[in-house]
């Protein structure tokens, strides 16, 4: 049995490095298409609307709206690092002018969560070279 990180860490590639680096530095970036303006997320090899391979990493606003949420009470995916944080509030967040992403919302009671809630990103380092955005009520 191989050992496992408390929480999963990404395998960083040249494709995805800009996202992880930016989040480590406290910025949210997504790939924007220079041809059609579509924001692609998660990172794609070309624009999912027009097929342009020249997607450009673009700084996003940090505001967003909760599209949906769930209050998770169980540890899944085997990563026991989540155990201490349960219940975890996992969301789909629609980033203003951006795209939809999975992210945690913190600093809110589960019973106060609402779809349509306005949230703002903050950034948590997860390794020397990577960070992730999390969100708090705006």
């Amino acid at each position: 049995m191989e050992s496992i990180a408390a929480k999963p860490l990404p395998d960083i590639t040249d494709l995805t490095r800009p996202f992880w680096t930016a989040a480590r530095e406290g910025r949210l970036v997504m790939q924007k298409c220079p041809s059609c303006g579509t924001v692609n997320f998660h990172p794609k090899p070309w624009c999912i609307e027009c097929g342009d391979r020249g997607l450009e990493w673009t700084e996003m606003q940090t505001g967003g709206t909760v599209y949906s949420y769930t209050v998770s009470h169980s540890v899944a995916m085997n990563h026991l690092g989540w155990q201490a944080e349960l219940p975890v509030i996992m969301c789909l967040i629609d980033i203003d002018g951006g795209a939809r992403m999975y992210a945690q919302v913190t600093d809110v009671a589960a019973e106060d969560m609402q779809i349509g809630m306005r949230v703002k990103a903050y950034f948590e380092p997860i390794s020397e070279e990577a960070g992730i955005p999390k969100f708090r009520p705006a």
């Binding site: 990404p10 395998d11 590639t13 494709l15 998660h42 998770s72 009470h73 169980s74 795209a99 992403m101």
Partner: protein
């Protein structure tokens, strides 16, 4: 394509939760066992598939390269066409469609389609929740795991929560699906969980990822399934009870609305089901039962809606107003489904709606036989894309008459 091919045999091995003392079979052994059951029922032998088609579903347990050809080697079959199912819970139905088109084109006359998995035997990083390496690598995983996306239950809870925001559905309505599935499982010796539970027990079951409860979730098992599909002409010589493929429809990577901010309350069944029904030339009132891909009760509910048995948003009410039992006015998941029957790996649970549909239409569903079943609807539902409900949605109409 209506009525051009038929299913003439099927097999479903006993499932295992790997209780102490139970034999531990490999995926190859389960495939052979399921194939043997299907061949026996059709009165055929493996040599009937030399020069014909062999379909092999994906397995998450470690397997060799060239998996479909390696399976042919293991089974001692030399087919002229290999079909590979790689669409998760749509693999069984997608291989049916591929085989049907190869048969209709005259490339082959028949195909043996197999699928098995032993997820409980996968090396597991923690007890009770095996994860295949392929689930935890690649860009798709890198933008989920580190963010705390904790498996299918949490992913589907997000979809259900959004649905509940836009439409009305109560825990009692969804619980009725789970309770009825268990009732059907109690009538099916092949189901893994057979002790009936009440609606109250459903409501009292532990909340895993609100609004999804423990009794909303599918239990993983080791097991295998198989079926045999032939040209309609050959089918008549093989069995007096062929089950014809009357229609099919398939959607992959379906979006409702924009690709950036899609509406997740609608599935690809909203497009694949009308196509299947049009090909079959049947309406909703002609369909005698529905076998959804029922890994969660609300997926069954959305399937009902997107097939058009009721309007969008009225699935909960539909569940409440209809008797879902095998002898009711809307028989559904008559084998107990995956919810109580067990899911033999993410890619192979999709054989179950198909195999149960065929079982019903051949009149072989002892103790849970839908009365006068002549036309049935069966579904495949495969994979969970990023922030959406289902990568592949396949709708099939089967009939006892061509």
């Amino acid at each position: 394509m209506r009525g051009k091919v038929a299913i003439v045999g099927y097999g479903r091995t006993p499932y295992s939760r790997l209780k102490p003392g139970e034999p531990v079979l490999t995926v190859d052994e389960y495939i052979a066992w399921a194939a043997e059951l299907a061949l026996e029922r059709a009165g055929m032998s493996k040599s009937d598939f030399d020069g014909q088609g062999l379909g092999v579903s994906h397995a998450e347990v470690a397997h060799t390269v060239n998996w479909s050809a390696a399976t042919a080697e293991n089974l001692g079959i030399s087919p002229n066409a290999l079909i590979r199912g790689d669409q998760g819970g749509c693999s069984a139905t997608s291989m049916l469609i591929r085989a049907a088109t190869l048969i209709e084109a005259g490339v082959i006359d028949r195909a043996l389609i197999v699928g098995a998995d032993t997820p409980l035997s996968m090396p597991s990083l923690a007890p009770g929740l095996p994860l295949s390496p392929e689930r935890t690598r690649g860009v798709f995983w890198d933008f989920q795991g580190p963010f705390g996306v904790m498996g299918a239950t949490a992913q589907f809870a997000l979809i259900l929560r959004r649905y509940m925001h836009e439409h009305q559905v109560t825990p009692e309505q969804l619980g009725k699906v789970a309770v009825t599935n268990r009732y059907h499982a109690s009538l099916n010796p092949g189901a893994i969980y057979r002790k009936p539970f009440t609606l109250q027990e459903y409501l009292d079951s532990r909340m895993l990822s609100d609004p999804i409860r423990l009794f909303d979730c599918v239990p993983i098992v080791n097991g295998g399934l198989a079926y045999i599909v032939t040209s309609a002409e050959s089918a008549k010589a093989i069995t007096d009870r062929p089950v014809y493929v009357l229609g099919f429809g398939e959607t992959n990577n379906f979006y409702s609305g924009s690709r950036v901010f899609p509406d997740v309350t609608v599935t690809g069944f909203s497009e694949s089901a009308p196509r299947a029904m049009e090909m079959a030339g049947v309406g909703h009132d002609d369909i005698d039962f529905l076998q959804p891909y029922d890994d969660y009760p609300f997926i069954s509910m959305k399937t009902i809606e997107d097939w058009g048995f009721c309007k969008k948003g009225e699935g909960g009410k539909f569940l409440e107003e209809h008797d879902l039992r095998f002898d009711g006015d809307f028989p559904m998941s008559t084998d107990g489904g995956q919810l109580s029957g067990g899911q033999p790996g993410g890619a192979n649970g999709g054989f179950m709606p198909l195999v149960e549909g065929v079982t019903q239409l051949r009149g072989e569903a002892e103790g849970r036989q839908v009365p006068n079943a002549g036309i049935g609807a069966v579904c495949g539902f495969g994979g969970i894309p990023y922030g959406r409900p289902g990568r592949s949605c396949i709708s099939v109409i089967l009939g006892s008459e061509a």
